[in-house]
């Protein structure tokens, strides 16, 4: 039996797991996929929002601003790529210019620091590729960009290093409470029991909430299509560029990524399918049209991939972070849509504090606050790199040529805590396969490494777990030549 079971190993579940790992408690994270960061956390804008967008006084606003504040320390402790590049909200219609003032005032009320309203000229001087239609902009220097994969992975790794258990490929199917007040979670991998359950299940959070409560909540998967552009286009803008928000969210944004690509998106389409991450031609066309309204000469020919993510939109557009009224010891962390990525450390802190108090948890003596990321040899001098290769020759073997990722980094990704088990797992940890050839060159090589290091047949190596195998069988029959 566990003290706490967290459902979901996305950024929210992982942030909570890390906070709980500070205390003497048996904590387990149940994740239906084969890795952390498989749902909403892996497909979003990767923005650390300043916090001027959420409604004044809302939990969303509070979590956003607090999460933003916490990000520097978190990035330093956990070795996460994070840059405060600042954001601009541009206004492209003169008659809506006062919208910038409204945003500014909301930001001030929310506690966002350093904002300024820019004239057209100031905005253009800071960001020459803004559309000629731009009439003015709100500038928020505290906005940043992060690698969402590494943020998620790092928090989970650190939690695991501090004793939190992670159970992958474990899908919760039913939740019941026994007479002793213990939660029973039936899964495809047997039953798990716990005193407390934290529901951090993203687009599925309403499903689990509604299993235990008569006061139903409703979450809509809201799909957003994105295009990711080549690093050659990464300097097209140097800030995160939003347009004034509309009813359907923040509109599209154009921003450099922390790794130097350019990302454009997302659209906002409500769907029924909680796994409906398919892009559509209409969605991509829509986001290109919208993006062109705020930024000119967007080099859309440099798109290297497009993808879609689902936000967990709760009907009241507010984070639900509380013990369920009619289900004591069941904590909802639901409706975590944008600015969820930004908020995750604050949510972790809040839920950690809540459970510490409720469960009278005591801090561990030997809690490890820091986590070392996978070494990036590109940050080394040639002498340092040679010393590394001499010690560990795999660092001299480049596997992904687009991103210059060596075998050494891939081996580290596979063998570290909560290591990679699939091509996508390797990709999100090392960036191998994330470049402009989109794994055409490196995928057979990474498959080979996974096959060798995990001791599994090549036919069992997957793209992302489950049935996503890559090759089906050997040519010439199972044994070959014995047909």
């Amino acid at each position: 039996m566990y003290d706490v079971i967290i459902i979901g190993a996305g950024v929210t579940g992982s942030a909570i797991a890390r906070e709980l790992s500070r205390y003497d408690a048996n904590v387990c994270v149940l994740e239906k996929c084969e890795d952390v960061c498989e749902g909403t956390s892996k497909a979003n804008s990767a923005i650390i929002h300043a916090g001027f967008d959420a409604e004044e006084g809302s939990l969303m606003a509070k979590m956003n601003v607090r999460g933003n504040e916490m990000m520097d320390q978190l990035a330093e402790d956990l070795d996460i790529p994070f840059k405060r590049i600042g954001a601009m909200v541009v206004c492209v219609q003169k008659d809506t210019l006062d919208g910038l003032q409204t945003l500014y005032e909301r930001g001030v009320a929310n506690g966002v620091k350093g904002m300024r309203i820019l004239s057209k000229e100031e905005a253009m001087a800071m960001e020459p590729n803004l559309s000629d239609n731009v009439e003015g902009a709100l500038y928020a220097p505290s906005s940043g960009i992060v690698c969402p994969f590494i943020l998620n992975i790092a928090m989970a790794e650190n939690a695991a290093d501090n004793g939190v258990e992670f159970r992958f490929n474990t899908k919760v199917e039913q939740i019941t409470k026994d007479d002793a007040g213990i939660w029973h979670l039936r899964t495809n991998n047997g039953e798990y029991k716990a005193r407390y359950v934290v529901n951090a299940a993203g687009v599925y959070a309403d499903v689990f909430h509604n299993m235990v409560s008569d006061k139903k909540i409703h979450i809509t998967p809201r799909r957003g299509d994105y295009c990711l552009l080549d690093k050659e286009a990464g300097n097209h803008v140097s800030h995160t560029i939003f347009t004034l928000p509309t009813k359907l969210g923040k509109g599209v944004l154009v921003t450099p990524t922390v790794h130097g690509n350019l990302i454009v998106g997302p659209t906002a389409v409500d769907v029924n399918d909680r796994e409906g991450t398919n892009t559509t031609a209409a969605g991509i066309a829509d986001l290109i049209t919208k993006a062109n309204q705020q930024v000119k000469d967007l080099p859309m020919r440099k798109v290297i991939t497009s993808f879609a993510g689902l936000r967990a939109h709760e009907d009241h557009h507010e984070f639900i972070i509380q013990e369920v009224e009619d289900a004591p010891h069941f904590i909802d962390v639901a409706g975590i849509e944008s600015p969820g990525l930004t908020s995750c450390p604050a949510i972790g802190e809040m839920v950690g504090e809540m459970l510490r108090e409720k469960m009278s948890l005591t801090p561990k003596d030997n809690w490890i606050a820091k986590r070392k990321g996978i070494l990036n040899p590109q940050t080394l001098t040639m002498e340092e790199r040679n010393a590394l290769i001499q010690k560990e020759p795999a660092y001299g073997n480049i596997i992904c040529r687009c991103e210059s990722i060596s075998e050494g980094e891939i081996l580290d990704a596979i063998h570290r805590t909560l290591g990679a088990r699939s091509l996508d797992g390797v990709k999100r940890r090392t960036r191998a396969g994330m470049g402009r050839c989109q794994a055409g060159f490196c995928s057979p090589r990474v498959m080979e490494i996974l096959h060798r290091e995990l001791g599994i047949p090549l036919e069992e190596v997957t793209k992302s777990g489950g049935r996503s195998t890559i090759v089906m069988e050997r040519t010439k029959g199972a044994n070959g030549g014995e047909a």
């Binding site: 001299g396 055409g440 049935r467 996503s468």
Partner: protein
């Protein structure tokens, strides 16, 4: 820093032929840097026949064709390093390379020959809507898995794009027992060679649907089906023409892109049409002493032409090294202009002083032309007018210019190549 006369980036067909040619032209210290575990490049996985008719006057498979050049390289004692990735080339021709065995090191090259080849356009760049499951491969990746590693990606195959690798893989997968259901091609003509349509598709009754594209991909973990639709003249899908094909594999053969990351780092000027360097008659880039040949320069459809071009690059690099970098350039540089259906030319300039007696100019057309003329103008004067039964974007064309004719022309500034109806 280790000095070499000529460093060749890539040990595929272009790099091998360039090395052999440089040696024949008197260069001693040559080094080939190859990132794969063997020489030969992509030819090693091209196990089909049809290579070498021009070069060796016989029909060879890819590995056999490569071996002919590898044997010459070995006989000549030309140095090469395998499993070696070139990380950087500087404008001063300092080549930074890395391998397990040698670590990271730098070489000062007298001349550099770029022979990195090309790569396939990935799904992402095609913006195909739908899910992103396993089971989607560029045709060349599948070719490597099947032919080198000996694994089948799947049994029910749809192919998007009729590039040669896609056509070859249609036959290959069929021979290995898979069912290739359809090849869809966005353009109204095939991007591959005609002979491949006959012997890879027609022979096996595989339908080729021109002016069709994939409009949806189904399958959350592994691909389960694709939907194909006809497109209009603006390449937009026509509603109501959708057809769904169940499949476990989607192969993409939608174009090749020269692999010029290193060239860009070195500051080499690129031609936006070919995605390869802008080169002179000597196949020299805008950076003196850096030459380019093969698919990194422009995508070829015949390896024989790659070898021929690489031979010229090797000879030109040898001349550069022997002249210690002091090659006299005349004021008489003629610019080649590609227009009216001609998409590009390689080279783009010809120095009348340095040109050979015969200068090959390669080009591609932008559409299918039947019974048209290839016209060559010296300045504004039409000099040749050659009737062609058929020309297609998938097939590289060439003309040969004679130095003596160019010299005869007074004040020659431009040579224009265009397609004319009559």
């Amino acid at each position: 820093m280790i000095p070499y006369d000529i460093v060749i980036i890539g040990g595929g067909p272009a790099g091998l032929a360039a090395a052999v040619s440089a040696r024949k032209n008197g260069i001693d210290k040559i080094l080939i840097l190859e990132r794969d575990r063997e020489l030969g490049g992509i030819l090693n996985q091209c196990i089909h026949n049809g290579f070498g008719l021009h070069t060796f006057k016989e029909e060879l498979t890819g590995p056999e064709y490569a071996q002919r050049f590898i044997d010459q390289v070995l006989e000549m004692g030309i140095e090469y390093k395998l499993n070696t990735m070139v990380m950087d080339i500087s404008p001063e021709r300092v080549v930074t390379a890395m391998s397990r065995e040698d670590g990271m090191y730098q070489i000062q090259a007298g001349a550099v020959i770029l022979a990195m080849g090309c790569r396939e356009r990935p799904r992402g760049a095609l913006n195909i809507p739908g899910y992103r499951p396993a089971g989607i491969f560029s045709a060349g990746t599948a070719q490597r898995l099947v032919n080198i590693e000996g694994y089948m990606p799947g049994r029910e195959v749809v192919i998007l794009g009729s590039g040669d690798i896609g056509l070859i893989m249609a036959r290959r997968m069929t021979l290995e027992g898979a069912k290739v259901k359809v090849v869809a091609e966005l353009m109204p003509y095939s991007g591959g060679l005609k002979r491949n349509i006959v012997q890879c598709l027609d022979d096996f009754n595989i339908p080729l649907k021109l002016s069709h594209t994939v409009v949806d991909i189904e399958g959350k973990e592994h691909i389960t089906a694709v939907t194909i639709a006809q497109v209009d003249s603006h390449n937009k899908p026509i509603p109501g023409t959708e057809e769904r094909y169940t499949c476990d594999t989607l192969l993409l053969s939608c174009g090749l892109i020269p692999e010029n990351e290193l060239s860009n780092k070195a500051g080499i000027r690129m031609n936006p049409v070919t995605n390869g360097p802008v080169v002179t008659e000597s196949l020299e880039t805008n950076i003196p002493g850096i030459f380019a040949c093969g698919n990194v320069l422009h995508v070829h459809d015949l390896v024989d032409y790659v070898s021929e071009e690489a031979g010229r690059a090797g000879a030109a690099a040898a001349r550069y090294v022997q002249a210690k970098g002091i090659i006299e350039h005349s004021d008489e540089v003629v610019k080649l202009i590609a227009t009216d259906g001609v998409r590009y030319t390689v080279p783009v300039t010809i120095d009348l002083k340095n040109m050979a007696d015969l200068q090959t100019v390669h080009f591609r057309v932008g559409n299918v032309y039947k019974n048209c003329y290839v016209s060559v103008y010296y300045n504004d004067k039409r000099m040749t007018h050659t009737r062609k039964k058929i020309m297609a974007p998938g097939e590289m064309e060439k003309i040969i210019l004679q130095k003596k004719n160019l010299l005869k022309e007074e004040d020659l500034k431009t040579i224009t190549i265009k397609i004319e109806a009559e």
